[in-house]
């Protein structure tokens, strides 16, 4: 550790320009941000803290996984895309941004997906959480993507944009919707159990992102099948950089907590105390 990193880290704060903002499915927006070097070092599963620069309320920045770096093959690193769902005032404010507006972006942050090229990824994504899995697919070399299985579920059939995107990137995608209007009629977990013989190979590793209850069930399922499993945990965050201790995730055994922004957001599922 050297002290110069204080200055190195400063490079992570950028005023980014909104390049594009578009509602890809009801209530969910694709946001493209441009800033020098913004995605240069972004690894799949990492996140950014976004905030409108001049406003006092919302007070805190909001964490968002990155989705894509943009045009495949582009060398840039100066562009990053986020997929977000409007759930409260921060995301509502974000949805009112227009191309040309500026946003403060801090990142990339946290510890993302740890992908071992010897493994065959089985991705399980619920709702907009699947965005973080898209980044993983994008980072897998195109020729290897056809081995990737991706299960994406949502409440409504029209909320499966991420699944379509992973399919476009070359993964083998199965969709599930609770209204049955797209893919399997049911939850992504039901789909997972139903298709497991198809999905599990010798080198399968599970990568899951979505609501906590879903992650817990995926983790239990993976454990019972003897599969390694990584999960991306969502918690409220204030700083995003490990200093506020607001993003505590209970760690199994120890009685202690890890920081979702620093030791996470991606954890090995057995690290988590799920109760």
């Amino acid at each position: 550790m050297s002290w110069s990193y204080h200055w190195g880290a400063m490079m992570k704060v950028r005023l980014a320009r909104v390049e594009l903002i578009t509602e890809v499915q009801p209530g969910t927006f694709l946001l493209a941000l441009a800033a020098q070097g913004i995605s240069q070092e972004a690894k799949p599963g990492q996140f950014y803290m976004l905030k409108t620069a001049q406003e006092a309320d919302p007070f805190l920045p909001r964490p968002f996984s990155w989705l894509r770096k943009g045009e495949e093959g582009s060398l840039g690193g100066n562009r990053v895309e986020i997929l977000f769902q409007v759930v409260g005032k921060g995301t509502a404010r974000l949805a009112r941004m227009r191309p040309g507006d500026q946003l403060q972006a801090l990142g990339p942050l946290g510890r993302g997906w740890q992908w071992d090229p010897a493994k065959t990824p089985l991705l399980v994504g619920g709702g907009v959480g699947a965005a973080s899995l898209v980044s993983l697919v994008e980072c897998i070399p195109p020729e290897k993507r056809s081995c990737v299985w991706a299960l994406v579920g949502a409440r409504l059939g029209k909320q499966l944009w991420c699944g379509q995107e992973m399919s476009r990137l070359g993964a083998r995608v199965l969709l599930a919707s609770q209204d049955g209007l797209e893919g399997f009629h049911g939850t992504v977990l039901e789909l997972l159990r139903r298709e497991e013989s198809l999905l599990i190979g010798a080198e399968t590793e599970v990568f899951a992102c979505g609501p906590r209850e879903m992650l817990k069930e995926v983790a239990t399922w993976a454990a019972s099948r003897g599969l390694p499993c990584q999960v991306s945990m969502e918690t409220p965050m204030a700083c995003g950089v490990g200093v506020c201790l607001g993003c505590a995730v209970k760690i199994s055994g120890s009685g202690g907590y890890a920081r979702a922004c620093q030791e996470g957001p991606v954890f090995r599922s057995e690290e988590i105390d799920w109760d």
Partner: protein, 313 residues
């Protein structure tokens, strides 16, 4: 040359800092974390996360929730404990040159005393800040801060253990700040940090449950600034020791309000979360203001407020 660079040097009784901009406890870690844009070296000083004798796991999540122009937190003083701080972080801090004030917290007078005497013997620390005002723990902390007599005894006890600059961080509620301040300065403290967070709560109306695991949390952020500014002014008007303001600073103007109202220095707390460049922004903003208003030293700024009524005890 009318526009000579003003001297931001900050004299807080026995302690002299290069400038009056400090990082508040619990919002800048132990000083060794990767702090984006925080320029810890440029700070007047960095106050560490609260440290206790033994490690503390802290409260279960959720620990934070945003509120209008602010946030509630109930971290529960999670920390690695004194020995791990001394072993793992202090060597790095010494090497870094960051000016460090250690914030300490105990459940008993004895614990505070032991923290103070152990830290007394360490090199490379500028001072101690006693947290007697954390609203988020069951024992200790605020219990000391709420009763001026108990506080007086505590500060006296700690004073006997250490010759380091000693600040007492007061609670803004549950006690009249001026009484707690007086109890502290009469016990020999060197400075008063005004103030910690305000006890508050938030409800999840869908679940009909509190949004903070332990029910209540401490409010920080710009929302509280008018309240803490009042307390800073009131305490500074009477106190024979410097007041270090802390509450809701989100831009240079906010820090100027505190300095003008009588604070000798200003801590930047949760405002850094939404604006990683805030330390520098505040520092440069104070400098520009002094240039514009032709002030050559910080003393000209501190307490320059006019037109307020008299403070009575």
């Amino acid at each position: 040359m009318e526009e000579a660079r003003p001297d931001l040097g900050c004299r807080l009784k026995r302690l002299t800092l290069p400038n009056p901009v400090l990082a508040a406890s619990g919002t800048a870690g132990y000083g060794t974390e990767e702090l984006p844009g925080r320029a810890a070296l440029s700070l007047g000083a960095l106050v560490t996360k609260g440290i206790s004798l033994e490690p503390r796991p802290g409260n279960p999540p959720p620990r934070i929730v945003e509120t209008p122009c602010g946030m509630l937190n109930a971290i529960g003083l999670q920390n690695i404990g004194l020995e791990a701080f001394l072993g793992e972080h202090l060597p790095l801090l010494r090497e870094s040159g960051i000016r460090i004030i250690v914030n300490v917290f105990g459940e008993t007078e004895e614990e505070y005393a032991r923290l103070a005497s152990r830290l007394e013997t360490q090199h490379g620390l500028l001072g101690l800040e006693l947290n007697v005002s954390c609203p988020n723990v069951k024992k200790g902390g605020r219990a000391f801060g709420r009763d001026p007599d108990v506080l007086h005894l505590l500060v006296k006890r700690v004073r006997a253990e250490t010759s380091m600059p000693l600040w007492v961080k007061l609670a803004p509620d549950g006690v009249e700040p001026l009484e707690a301040a007086q109890a502290s300065w009469e016990a020999g403290c060197d400075g008063l940090t005004v103030a910690n967070t305000y006890l508050g709560m938030a409800v999840d109306v869908e679940q009909r449950r509190p949004r903070i695991s332990i029910g209540t949390g401490g409010l920080s952020g710009p929302a509280i600034r008018p309240l803490t500014l009042y307390r800073v002014w009131k305490v500074a008007a009477k106190a024979p020791v410097p007041v270090i303001a802390c509450g809701g600073v989100a831009c240079a103007k906010d820090a100027l309000e505190y300095l003008i109202a009588g604070a000798g220095a200003v801590q930047v707390g949760s405002g850094i979360f939404g604006n990683p460049g805030l330390y520098m922004e505040v520092l440069e903003g104070i400098r520009s203001y002094m240039i514009k208003h032709r002030m050559s030293s910080l003393e000209q700024l501190v307490g320059s407020l006019e037109g307020m009524p008299r403070v009575s005890f």
